[in-house]
């Protein structure tokens, strides 16, 4: 069963202002029996003051449709036409303590009925664009195929994400993603056929998203870091190659610690800069061991480094990389894989 609020249940089981209003002078009728809900809103408006003196409804529909209708009449009674006009479906939903997403269209129906009744009072033409067209695709936001198609065509939308941005369709429970994708593909195909969209841009159902070139963090500059201090003179010059391997904690860098990890998400370029900075900080440690590590590339979560000297090919290499990885994780707040570049 739906998760209806107590207020929804109250307005369903004890509807206010249900039934016909004999001396109504402004009536709004919306919905249809095929859609499963319809609402007839009857208003008695004082011609002098334009105050809605009485409001009653008749509703064909589910529990939340009846509750929304009841809420609507309560909200508008005593208001002027001008005040009532400002009412939105969100006001109805809020009055009821919220509606399940699938039932938001019930509140929209209430608002539509009010618009129709106000139009009947003022004699304005009802906006034809409010018609429901085609199948209802997105149930959360009650968006039908007609509206989505218009948005796709007018704005040349070619991705699901953009369709959601423009129409809200698919922005709720996501259960309509599949029909939405199909609709997008169909409309795009039609646009290609009539020449308003190039075939390369069109969304194709089932196709993997076109690869977007990744902003590779190559060739970046480190703006505010002083040049790495000259390598400390190696304590031992010649016999280094035969020295027993000293397992040295690579995190014990003597340089001042890098800034604390920023809570905000970094861009990939910012991440690469931060990694370069960490590497520069650790470099003296590597150099003290008679080797060196240079950053080659940061791509996604892969950090490629070139290892030279004593660091390359020896057991210490994995320790070095492990320490580097740990340090990066600590500072950037997410895990990277540190891989040595293949040696030529």
């Amino acid at each position: 069963m739906w998760d209806y609020s107590e207020k929804v249940k109250d307005h369903f089981f004890n509807p206010r202002n249900a039934g016909a209003l004999e001396d109504a002078n402004a009536v709004g009728e919306v919905g249809s029996i095929s859609c499963g809900d319809a609402l007839k809103l009857m208003l008695k408006v004082n011609p002098e003051t334009e105050i809605i003196e009485d409001a009653r409804f008749q509703t064909f529909g589910c529990g939340s449709a009846i509750a929304s209708s009841s809420a609507l009449t309560e909200l508008i009674k005593g208001k002027t036409i001008v005040e009532a006009r400002a009412l939105t479906n969100q006001d109805i939903a809020e009055f009821l303590g919220g509606l399940p997403p699938e039932k938001m269209h019930c509140s929209v129906m209430g608002q539509e009925a009010l618009t129709a009744a106000v139009a009947a009072w003022t004699g304005e033409a009802v906006d034809e664009d409010d018609h429901e067209e085609g199948a209802l695709i997105c149930k959360c936001f009650a968006v039908d195929a007609g509206m989505i198609e218009r948005a796709i065509r007018t704005n040349k939308l070619t991705s699901l994400e953009m369709v959601t941005f423009y129409t809200k369709a698919g922005g709720g429970c996501s259960s309509c993603r599949e029909p939405l994708e199909e609709l997008l593909a169909d409309v795009n195909a039609a646009m290609v056929a009539d020449g308003t969209l190039s075939a390369a841009e069109a969304f194709v159902f089932g196709a993997a998203p076109a690869p977007t070139p990744k902003a590779k963090a190559t060739g970046f500059v480190i703006p505010d870091l002083p040049p790495a201090p000259p390598a400390a003179p190696a304590p031992l010059q010649e016999p280094i190659a035969i020295q027993p391997i000293r397992v040295k904690p690579v995190t014990a860098a003597k340089l001042p610690p890098a800034p604390a990890p920023a809570p905000a998400a970094r861009t990939s370029a910012q991440e690469a800069i931060a990694i370069a900075r960490i590497l520069e900080e650790m470099r003296p440690t590597f150099q003290a061991d008679g080797g060196d590590v240079t950053l080659l590339d940061v791509d996604g979560n892969r950090v490629s480094v070139e290892m030279t000297g004593a660091c390359a090919g020896c057991q210490i290499a994995s320790l070095t990389l492990g320490g580097l990885r740990k340090r990066i994780r600590e500072q950037l707040g997410r895990d990277f894989i540190v891989v040595p570049a293949p040696r030529n």
């Binding site: 369903f12 249900a18 029996i33 008749q58």
Partner: protein
């Protein structure tokens, strides 16, 4: 409300018999071994599984117990049967089913049609839900790989003559599958006397546990597993057996079969009493489905000019559980595809309520429902813009039709 609840939604699911639960519990706590294991923990489970398989075999009248493959439910059984038949007959690329099947058949059919190059024929029904046999004959051909028709419809209870439909399929060289999820336990089934190749069933529709089903595959039928894995179910369905559930289903099948002959006529009488009691008191309502041949426990009554979810909420407040083909209960705006296929007008399809009884339903419960329904219908009709107070349809044609 302090009134005892009345459960008339047994086509959705059933109460697990207490005897079934009792039978299952030791296989969670004591005899928890894997039936595939060689040690004593597994040995006893194996024996109990064999017994359960035989009980189910008896209920559906299968010739051999190894014709039964346990699955996770009716949906898996249906998916397995359809995909198996298509994979085993690669030169045949057409699939015939009906417009009123369960979504476990229809949504797979849509997918196969759209993405896997399968031609799907959806055979229509008449306004009583009966299959258009001529359309079926016309659709059969040398390319038909599989025919799948439900034994009984979950919404209206209408029964399809599946044994005859199976013979027609075989004349065209096609395999025949039936989704008998609603029929098993509610009608006499003797598979060995039919030409049905595959049959799906679900445990929780006959007072067994949820999460378990079975697929009957006639000995000799070409088969391709859906789930590949271990050697369980003779390599036809990988995955460790859900032993407690299988044992529970075995017990439920045994109990159902033991009292079926006495139960079914009693359920029919109660259902008819309910139906007559409501229809005689409420105007502008009618029973849907084939009243000459339908499930003994099911009645779907369409109440015109009102919406089903509202009726269900009112019933629920009086402790009565039923269900609706209404769109609003499912979150879709389309009313039941079954009622639409039967060309039931929208004015009535939205207000269709299904009452489905079980062998646990009592006369007192039925009478309470008969007493409750008319006032609920009246109350909602008074609120409906489509209902005229002098009875019948009001003049109401909203702007946004």
């Amino acid at each position: 409300m302090t009134l005892a609840p009345i459960y008339l939604d047994n086509n959705a699911t059933t109460r697990v018999f207490p005897e079934v639960v009792q039978e299952m519990v030791p296989f969670y706590t004591e005899q928890f071994g894997n039936a595939s294991s060689i040690h004593a923990f597994g040995e006893e489970v194996g024996g109990a599984l064999r017994q359960a398989r035989r009980s189910l075999q008896a209920l559906i009248g299968a010739e051999f117990d190894h014709e039964i493959i346990f699955t996770s439910g009716g949906t898996e059984s249906n998916n397995t049967a359809i995909r198996s038949a298509l994979a085993a007959n690669p030169k045949r690329t057409e699939f015939i089913t009906s417009k009123v099947e369960h979504p476990a058949i229809l949504s797979l059919a849509d997918w196969l049609e759209k993405h896997e190059g399968v031609t799907v024929h959806r055979i229509p029904v008449d306004n009583e839900g009966r299959l258009d046999i001529d359309a079926y004959r016309a659709a059969l051909g040398p390319k038909t790989a599989l025919v799948s028709f439900m034994w009984a419809n979950n919404e209206t209870g209408t029964i399809f003559p599946v044994d005859g439909l199976a013979e027609l399929a075989h004349q065209a060289g096609a395999l025949f599958h039936t989704d008998a999820v609603q029929a098993v336990g509610k009608v006499q089934i003797d598979l060995k006397a039919t030409e049905i190749d595959m049959l799906s069933l679900s445990s929780h529709k006959l007072h067994g546990p949820k999460g378990l089903g079975a697929l009957y595959v006639r000995k000799g039928t070409r088969f391709r597993p859906l789930l590949r894995g271990g050697h369980q179910e003779r390599g036809r369905r990988g995955g460790t057996e859900n032993a407690p559930a299988i044992i529970g289903l075995g017990k439920a099948a045994e109990m159902t079969l033991a009292t079926m002959e006495q139960d079914l006529p009693r359920i029919v009488a109660l259902r008819d009493r309910l139906e007559a009691g409501i229809v005689s008191q409420v105007s502008h309502c009618f029973v849907t489905g084939d009243r000459r041949d339908r499930l003994p426990n099911t009645t779907t009554i369409a109440f015109e000019y009102i919406e089903g979810e509202a009726i269900l909420m009112m019933l629920n407040r009086q402790g009565i559980a039923a269900s609706s083909g209404s769109a609003c209960t499912s979150g879709s705006l389309e009313p039941s595809h079954v009622l639409r296929a039967m060309d039931i007008p929208f004015t009535a399809a939205h207000g269709a309520i299904r009452f489905s009884l079980s062998r646990e339903t009592t006369e007192a419960e039925v009478d309470r429902v008969i007493a409750a329904v008319p006032a609920i219908i009246d109350q909602l009709r008074e609120m409906s813009p489509f209902w005229s107070s002098d009875g019948g349809k009001a003049q109401f044609n909203p702007e946004y039709a």
